[in-house]
């Protein structure tokens, strides 16, 4: 059985301008122990999808799905999210400096989470906190525990965030743009850390990012999100070797890489459609270089092809 199954996930928010559809019928299947990339532009619904899996959509939002199950547990009928959040799924965010409570030391924050979830005594809690900090590559744990967040560098802050996310014993980690706010060198360190945590602790990771480079280096499988729907999903290798959806092809064309020096980078014309009054048909139709008549009237569904590759496009 897959660890996480998401079927027809839709999320909308009521705003003063009308109903905003952030996510429209997303389907995802996440296997145990993999790093799954969720890629797309800003505003395509990646973060909201992550938050929905944690039951953290604010009261103005509405989440619907035909299936949302974590290891057999139906998240749709979950009343007590306290048993899921942290304990089963944890999440880290883009800006670690803003995600750490500025008025508590790292030690206080870590031990609070550990003690709440595992009811350990203070010696055992301290021991566990040191262990967690070592796991995320912070060697001088005793010192780090006494510091306040603002005294740490960005990379260290993100490591602490990861430790906090693991402190509750989660098996699934949603990492929302975990490296975007960091320097390039620190970025690759954090990504390597995530990979090693997956290997050592059989953690499953959903990596939300806009950066295809990050996906290429880190993820096993990937889903490309466009305007709140999955445009294409496949293994990472397959996606880069054989991108099928015109949007994915556009994204890859816009990415600088070896051997393309001197050739112009391609940009995708136009911008994301509005989530308030979505047009009928394929959401990408207005920007698609290969648009057909049917694209303007019918929204394509995600259709599997060979190699566990699925595309939502009328071309296939």
């Amino acid at each position: 059985m897959s660890l996480l199954e998401v079927r027809d996930l839709s999320i909308s928010f009521s705003t003063s301008h009308g109903l905003f559809r952030a996510v429209n019928g997303v389907n995802l299947t996440i296997e145990r122990g993999e790093i799954f990339g969720l890629v797309g532009e800003t505003g395509c619904g990646k973060t909201v999808t992550g938050l929905a899996l944690m039951g953290l959509i604010s009261s103005t939002g509405r989440v619907t799905a035909s299936r949302l199950s974590l290891d057999g547990l139906n998240l749709l009928s979950t009343r007590n999210w306290q048993n899921v959040r942290g304990r089963r799924i944890s999440m880290i965010f883009q800006d670690p400096a803003a995600c750490l409570n500025p008025t508590f030391t790292i030690g206080q924050q870590l031990s609070h989470v550990i003690r709440y979830h595992f009811h350990l005594d203070s010696a055992a809690t301290h021991h566990r906190a040191v262990e967690l900090l070592n796991d995320v590559g912070l060697s001088d744990a005793a010192h780090t525990l006494r510091t306040y967040p603002h005294q740490l560098s960005g990379g260290m802050q993100q490591r602490v965030m990861i430790a906090l996310a693991l402190a509750s014993g989660a098996e699934l980690l949603i990492a929302d743009e975990p490296t975007t706010a960091l320097d390039v060198t620190i970025q690759s360190q954090i990504l390597r850390l995530l990979k090693s945590l997956r290997d050592k602790h059989t953690l499953t990771i959903i990596l939300i990012t806009h950066d295809l480079g990050v996906v290429a280096h880190t993820c096993d499988r990937v889903a490309v999100l466009y305007a709140g729907s999955v445009a294409e999903t496949s293994s990472t290798v397959d996606l880069f070797r054989n991108p099928k959806h015109p949007y994915t092809q556009g994204l890859l064309g816009a990415m600088p890489r070896h051997g393309t020096r001197g050739k112009p980078l391609l940009a995708i014309e136009g911008s994301l459609p509005s989530g308030i009054n979505p047009s009928v048909g394929c959401p990408f139709a207005a920007r698609c270089p290969l648009v057909m008549k049917i694209c303007r009237t019918d929204n394509p569904t995600l259709t599997p092809t060979e190699n566990a590759h699925a595309i939502a496009c009328h071309l296939y």
Binding site: L56, G86, I92, F93, A98, C99, N101, T103, H112, A165
Partner: protein, 339 residues
């Protein structure tokens, strides 16, 4: 940290010095003649001249000021023109009464304002938020002196003399159940003496003045806590704490409140200091024998040494409380020091 505290201390000293200068010169550059006041009713010109010499008013102004400062440093706040009492001794009897009132109302502000503010902020836009919004705006709009009268009318008139209208203790209790003045705080002195009849009487007397005085700080604290909570709860570290599976109760009263309380403390410190002067109005109405009664009588008699001394004492409190708040804030939020 040390540099931060030194800076604050320096500012505090600067404030006290400038207040002493301002009040001193304001008091000396006035149209009415202090010597004439000092000399008593219908003085002769000789008496006035004698008084002038005695008060050293013939000296240059800056000399007078240095004398004034030197006396203060020696613990001499001067004598009242009117009663010829030593002002320091007067203040020692009046100050505890005022402080008792101000501390009681600040405690009410903390006990009511902070928890209600947290709950209003947690569900902002909800019914509690809406109601407390109007109530607290009303609370800061009441003229203190008029609120006192309304409460008197309600509790004394309508509710059949439920609470006494004036003074700190009933005459008969003071006569037949007297207790020694140790701290000057009746609520504490009566307990120290084990005199529960007098304690109950003192509690009964302090309720209405405290309620009057507390309305403003309660409202202010509530609104500030609420605003700070709304802002704090929208912070990313709150979402992160939820993602770590922490329960909502801990998030509100531990994670969010510790951050939200930092600005609230500033307001609490300010409102404590404001209450010191707000108490003046309340004391006048409830015949509460505190600094306010003392200073309003002095205003009536144009008794400047008293006005200057009380201004200085209150400023001293004002400044020390602000300093105290700064220190607590630095402990609560280590980033404060960096600003």
């Amino acid at each position: 940290m040390l540099i931060y505290l030194l800076r604050r201390l320096l500012l505090a000293i600067l404030v006290i010095v400038s207040v002493s200068v301002v009040t001193f010169f304001v008091a000396r550059v006035i149209p009415s003649d202090p010597a004439a006041l000092y000399a008593g009713q219908r003085p002769t010109s000789d008496q006035i001249a004698a008084a002038r010499e005695r008060l050293e008013l013939d000296q240059p102004l800056y000399n007078q000021y240095f004398r004034f400062v030197r006396d203060i440093l020696k613990g001499d706040l001067g004598t009242s023109y009117k009663t010829k009492h030593a002002i320091l001794a007067d203040i020692k009897t009046f100050l505890p009464a005022t402080l008792e009132l101000v501390i009681a109302s600040t405690l009410m502000a903390i006990i009511i304002g902070i928890p209600v503010g947290v709950l209003a902020g947690a569900k902002h836009g909800g019914w509690l938020d809406q109601t407390t919004r109007i109530l607290s705006i009303a609370g800061v709009s009441f003229p203190t002196f008029w609120l006192a009268l309304v409460l008197q009318l309600f509790f004394f008139g309508t509710l059949h003399r439920l609470f006494p209208l004036s003074s700190r203790i009933s005459n008969n209790v003071a006569l037949f159940n007297s207790f020694p003045a140790v701290t000057g705080f009746y609520l504490i002195d009566t307990l120290l003496a084990g005199n529960f009849i007098a304690w109950r009487d003192a509690v009964w007397h302090i309720i209405l003045p405290t309620l009057t005085l507390a309305t403003y700080p309660i409202s202010l604290t509530l609104r500030m806590t609420r605003a700070a909570m709304v802002e704090t709860l929208s912070e990313k570290y709150i979402t992160a704490a939820r993602a770590q599976g922490l329960p909502e109760r801990d998030i509100l009263f531990r994670y969010a409140l510790k951050n939200a309380i930092v600005p609230t403390l500033t307001v609490l410190g300010l409102s404590f200091a404001y209450s010191l002067t707000g108490a003046f109005l309340v004391e006048v109405i409830f015949s509460w024998p505190g600094l306010g009664k003392y200073v309003t009588d002095a205003i009536f008699n144009v008794d400047f040494p008293v006005i200057v001394a009380v201004t200085l004492i209150v400023t001293l409190f004002f400044v020390s409380i602000n300093l105290f708040v700064d220190i607590i804030q630095a402990f609560l939020d280590p980033r404060v020091v960096l600003r």
